[in-house]
Subunit: 353 residues, 2 copies
Amino acid sequence: MSGNDRTVLDADLARFAAGLFTAAGAPAGDAALIAKALIWANLRGVDSHGVLRIPGYLARIDNGITNPSPDMQITTDLPAAAVLDADQGFGQVALARATGIAIEKASAAGIGLCLIRRTVHMGAIGYFALDIAAEGMAGIAINVSRPNMAYPGARTAGLATSPIAIAVPGSTHAPLILDMATATQSMGKIQLARDTGQKLGKGWAVDADGNPTTDPNKAVIPTALGGSKGGGLSLMFECLTSLTVGNPLIAPFLEAAPDSRQHMQNGLVIAINIAQFGDVGDYAREVDRLADAIKSLPRADGVNEILVPGERGDGVLERRRKTGIPLPDGTWKRLEEVATRLGVAMPKSTPGK
Amino acid sequence: MSGNDRTVLDADLARFAAGLFTAAGAPAGDAALIAKALIWANLRGVDSHGVLRIPGYLARIDNGITNPSPDMQITTDLPAAAVLDADQGFGQVALARATGIAIEKASAAGIGLCLIRRTVHMGAIGYFALDIAAEGMAGIAINVSRPNMAYPGARTAGLATSPIAIAVPGSTHAPLILDMATATQSMGKIQLARDTGQKLGKGWAVDADGNPTTDPNKAVIPTALGGSKGGGLSLMFECLTSLTVGNPLIAPFLEAAPDSRQHMQNGLVIAINIAQFGDVGDYAREVDRLADAIKSLPRADGVNEILVPGERGDGVLERRRKTGIPLPDGTWKRLEEVATRLGVAMPKSTPGK
C-alpha cells in the first residue's frame, strides 16, 4: 500500500463501523455483527471484503435495496432443514441466523441445512463456516449472486463468482478454513492490479468483447476457475440455493426481466455434527495430523512453507491484531464522507508504514 | 482411436462385464450394478472410468483388497444422517446403497447424508448423483482416495484428485450433472496425451522432481485445480468424509504407516428433498430456464455452442447407445485375458471406424 495509508486498531474500526450501521438504521446487535464480520476479513488480509464495502452497503440502504431492520422469517421448517427469508436484510445477519439454525438442526439430526433467500451481500462467508467449526461441527457455506463472471464459451457475464467456504475444527492447530470463489481470480485482485499498474495473469479475465486480456484496464469480468469446472460449480450452486428457495437470480438477469438487475443474494449453510459420528477431540487431532502431514511434504523449488487452508489468513490476522488494519487513503476518504453524513466520528488512526 | 478399435453395443458389454464380476464372486445384482455404472461412463465418453478398469478391479479381488461379497453395515444411524461401512466392497455397490439411504433420510428430514467408509474405487460418482436427481431431489456425491495429486508448493503427491458430483432434475431438459475432479486435468487425460504423443497443457502436471512439465512421458502426477483452490477442496473433502468416519486416508499414507498404501476410498452422498421446499415441477422448469438462459449467452469467437453441465456426455451417450462403445485394441486384449481366465465369453463386437 502507499505512503498515505493509515492503520486503525481492529477494535476501534469495529466500533466505528458498528456506529455507521446503527446510524443507518440497523439494530445495535446487527450493526456490531456486520462490523465484526467485515473487520474479520480485513484482519485476515482479505481487504476486498472488509470495511471498503461500507459505503456501498450504506448506499444500498438509501436505494431501498437493503432493509436495515428486516423481519426475517423461517418459511420452511423441517427436521433437518429450513428456509430463512431474509427480507432483504444484511447478508451477515442472515448468515448468523442461518448458522444457528443449521447447528440446531444438526445437533439432533446429524446434519442441518439452512437455505437463505432474499438477502444482500454476505461478505466473507468463511466467518460463518468458522462459527460452525467453533461448535465442534463441520461447516459449509455457499452464496450466489447476480452474474459477474464469464461462463466458458460466452462473451458476457453468465454466472456469479459464487464462493464456497468449508471449515473444520482443529485441536492445537487453528481450524482449517477454505473460502474460495468459483472464479480464477476475484474482481478484487483485478482491481488491485489496476491500482498498482500490474498485468493480470493469463486467463484471469476477459474484456468487454469477451476476449482474454492481461490488461487490468481492459478486464471487465473474471473467468471461471478451470473453465467448465468453476462455471459448472457456480451454476449448480444457483440450482442448490436460488432454485430450491424459489428465488432465481441468474435466469431473470440474463433474460433482462424487470427488477432482475437489482442486487440480491441467496445462499445456504450446512452443519455436520461430528460428535454424533465419533469423538470430536479425536476428530480435531486427526485434523492436526493431516495438516502436519501436508505441511511436512517435500517442498518444490523456491517454496519456503506449505500452507493449509486458512493458514495464510491466520498469520495476517495475528499481525494485524497487534499492528492494526492498514487503510488506503481512498478507503479512508470514502469512509469519512459517509461518517460525516451520518454524524459518526472517525476512528483513531496512525500513519501506516 | 486407432483402426484396430472395435465397437460393442452397451447391452452386450454390460452382460459381459456383469458375467466377469459374477465369475469373480460378486452377487448377481451387485455385478449387474457395477457393470451398468462402468458402462454408463463409457456411454458418456468418460472411457477412463469405464470397462478399462475391469482388469484392475478383478486384480484387487485377487489381492484381497476388494471384497466381492461384502457384509455392508450401517454403523451410525441418525434422523438425517448415517454411516455405511462398506466392508471393502465395490464402490458402486456402496454408493448405490448410500444413495438409497440419503434419499430415505431426505424424504423425511429435508436433507439426508450418508457417509461411506472402507470401500474401493467408486468409478463415475455422477451416476449416483443422477440417481438422486431421478427421485426429484438434488444430489451431491464426493469421494476421497489415497494421494495421487500435487498439493500447491509440494514436490510429491499430497492429496487425491477427489471428485465432487452435483445433479439436479430438469423438466424437458436432461438433468444437469456436474462431475469434476479437484485436479486441473485427470490422470486419464495425461495417459491419453502419452498414447497420442501430444504435449500436455501448461500447468497440468509435474514430473518426478515436482517441477512443472508439458511432456506427458515425464508427467507423474496432475496438479490441483487452480492451485490452492482444488488442493484446498480435496483436503477439506478428506476432513468431511474420512475424518468424520474415523478412517483417514491421507495422513497415514504420507506418514508411510503400515497398510497405508493399500487402495481404499471413503465418500459421502447428500440428497436434498426439493419437494419439501416447493413444487418439484416448478423447480425442474426453472432448471430448464436457467440452462436455456446460459445456452443463449452471446458466444465467444470460435464457439459453436455453449454447454451446460452434463450436456457433452449426454450427446456422446445418445450416439454411443446407437453405434456402440469403441474399445481400443489394448483394452480389448486385457479384457480377453481376464475373460479367458474366468471362463467368460467375449461380447459380440464389430470393427470400429
